[in-house]
Symmetry: C2
Subunit: 447 residues, 2 copies
């Protein structure tokens, strides 16, 4: 489950007798549009995958059959286990471009074989968590429910998306697998199919109220939303008379702002002030922000497809780059793709009120810049052994704390602020020295 | 592995004694930007999932623990197996909005439980295959290689994306798992990490040429592309003198058009006219089209991240809708989300030259519109049993035939043509009658 070239490069390192340690750094080069920060997620999955490096005899046979690997090399790689060290930011952390989310220090073969597995785990989850945090911010305290599984890119992705959203503050998921496997609260309403399968809408509402085991939500937009709301209100009053309660109605199409106002009035006029209005239908943080800022009386939001594919920013420029081999700095000089050399620490300065003020990238061996600064990366694997395991609930709590300390202008859905991330003088000097050395070595003109 | 509400609705159908058959139809409502057709994929996975409907006792316990299902209902649903009929378009088919890719006719509980599983399988694969076909068209015969795994939304998605791309005409994948599990040819080059880990670029090139078991590709843009190309040409000449061959160079950054022209000249001047130039680095069909139309001497393209997330159109408005229950037409009247009633067939008319001329949606029980028309949907499951199994290779061949018959203006990367899809008069009449009936029944004004 990796890219062929990780294996062929590892085979070459083997043939060349390269056993020294390499440091590889995983980070995002630039923010995509509509993002002013990222939320680190998928780190735990990446660590799990490192614990299971290696492959079986049938894998060896397959690789040899491709003509790209010699048997001896394939057998050597199959036996490779991860024996290196890993430092990561905590899941749920707010991070910025150039800041490593994960650094691996290991014999180069292991560090190389880890690339695809680690990037694949962290990219998607970070992408989704970063968007999810924006949805939560836009909803300003109203619950947001994830129901993207149907159009998620697979069952596995649906699970990871539910996890990323929960870390970022979503209230629940429709994904039963995520509920069972990860303990995320599950919730659900009812679909149009149920309404349409019944002789008419009124019968459908009554049938649902009669048979539903959970809180009763009525979907009111199958035929005509206003009609649907009136019928829901009638049924709501009827239920009250029988000591039952209508929990909520769901709007899934049309002008949600206008419809929610009319629906609220109809429900209130029927004495059903406790009945909530839930909105869904192609929503994302932009739509939620507009509805909430406009004062639409909506009590909760469902977000589906647009979160599962992070539709407004479907790709992060996330890379996993070698920064040191055998104690020697490594770097690329390509236009726009330059790498900062060496193992790093990210330091974050907090103001007197605890708020994040600025970050600084420094070489790992530099001392703390001072009392107000805290390091973001912590060792979690040493010599191939996990030192720390943190729960999803812990990541969710940690994320909530982090978000509260973010400068408020960075939490705005309409992005117009940049958080300051600097370089330590020592890291800058080392990097510039390495660039000069590489240019001289490769016979390039001075810059 | 489904949405909670599929289970709670199914439980309600059960309690209500609804055992009649429903027809559910999976289709895309509208094309996203940058698409003039879709390529159906993921159908086989959807059918596999139907064969494994149902869940275990621990699943029952979990569901009961959520408070959303009663034990008796959960137990009943756990035992549910798929006993229905399924008609699908062949994988690799070119399809258009409103055309069903898959229709299920089954007892309503089964048809409902299938929803999330089926949509989840078909959405992502169709999304990726539709973009992949455009990359292949843009490359105009030059091979396109998929290497999106590192930023694909999971391991499963990486596999499905490799499959979808191969069906759509990609030459190979970097994904070893896809190679082993599905038999897709694998290929790979070398990464910057390998170059950077060596003392200098010249040493790196020599080391790679010495140890690589497959065809030798040199990555030339780590430090300075022009320098890199010159060094690759020197090594290429050296290899020739020792009866070896440099296969290709890879450009991964910068102005690929300009750099490929310079590189071609340097290689040709060194007598290395057979050495190919392979380009990668954030490519998609738009970039490939521009390079090929401009005449850049590039022999093959690598497409990664932007295909795995279908970056320019990350979501299809794909739905799975009830269209009939117990012989009664079902439909939704919501603004912009209306459903066409009843089970359907899609008929495609071909011109004298075999080219696709127009499609027509018709009710399933209508006769063929004539000799020039061919049906797209074929029965593949009857009474829960698979009637037909087709291979991925078959889908790839079928797709290639289909694409060749598509009106050429539809294959253009810059979308400016719409393929005509009509309704049969009978389907239109039935649909309009059902709309009228529903409006009267629900007490709505005439339209």
């Amino acid at each position: 489950m990796t890219d062929l070239y990780e294996l062929t490069m590892a085979a070459s390192y083997r043939r060349l007798g390269m056993r020294d340690r390499a440091t590889m750094s995983l980070y995002v080069r630039t923010l995509p549009q509509h993002r002013s920060f990222l939320v680190a997620a998928g780190i735990d999955r990446a660590l799990e995958r490192l614990e299971h490096l290696g492959f079986d005899a049938a894998g060896v046979d397959y690789l040899v059959s491709t003509g790209h690997l010699r048997r001896e090399d394939a057998e050597g790689l199959a036996r490779t286990r991860f024996t290196g060290d890993v430092r990561v930011v905590r899941e749920g952390s707010v991070v910025f471009p150039d800041e490593p989310l994960l650094e691996i220090d290991a014999p180069i073969i292991e560090a190389q074989l880890a690339e695809t597995l680690v990037l694949n785990a962290v990219h998607y989850s970070t992408l989704v968590a970063s968007k999810a945090a924006r949805c939560v911010a836009a909803a300003r305290g109203r619950p947001v429910v994830e129901f993207g599984l149907r159009r998620a890119p697979g069952i596995e992705a649906g699970l990871e998306a539910a996890r990323a959203c929960f870390i970022a503050g979503f209230a629940s998921t429709s994904n039963v697998h995520a509920g069972r496997a990860l303990g995320i609260p599950v919730s659900g309403t009812v679909a149009h199919a149920f309404i349409e399968a019944m002789p008419d809408e009124r019968t459908a509402f009554e049938a649902w109220a009669l048979t539903s085991a959970g809180p009763i939500t009525l979907l009111v937009d199958t035929y005509d939303t206003l009609n649907g709301v009136r019928r829901a209100a009638e049924l709501g009053r009827h239920l009250e008379r029988h000591d039952q309660k209508l929990h909520s109605i769901r709007l899934d199409s049309g002008d949600l702002d206008a419809l929610s106002r009319v629906a609220r009035r109809v429900l209130d006029d029927a004495g059903l002030t406790h009945v909530q209005i839930f909105a869904s239908g192609g929503l994302d943080e932009h739509a939620i922000d507009q509805l909430v800022r406009g004062g639409a009386p909506i009590d909760g939001f469902g977000v589906g497809t647009r979160i599962g594919m992070s539709a407004d920013a479907p790709v992060l420029d996330m890379v996993y780059k070698i920064v040191e081999y055998a104690g020697r700095p490594c770097l690329k000089l390509s236009a726009k793709k330059a790498t900062l050399v060496g193992p790093k620490q990210v330091w974050r300065r907090r103001g007197i009120d605890g708020r994040f003020v600025e970050d600084r990238l420094a070489a790992l061996d530099e001392p703390s810049p001072g009392n107000e600064w805290r390091p973001l990366l912590e060792p979690v694997v040493r010599g191939g052994r996990r030192l720390v395991r943190r729960s999803m609930e812990d990541a969710r709590r940690f994320h909530a704390e982090q978000i509260a300390l973010l400068p408020p202008e960075l939490r705005a859905v309409e992005v117009d602020a940049t958080y300051p991330v600097g370089l330590s003088p020592a890291l800058r000097a080392r990097h510039e020295a390495a660039v000069r050395e590489a240019r001289v070595r490769e016979g390039l003109a001075d810059v």
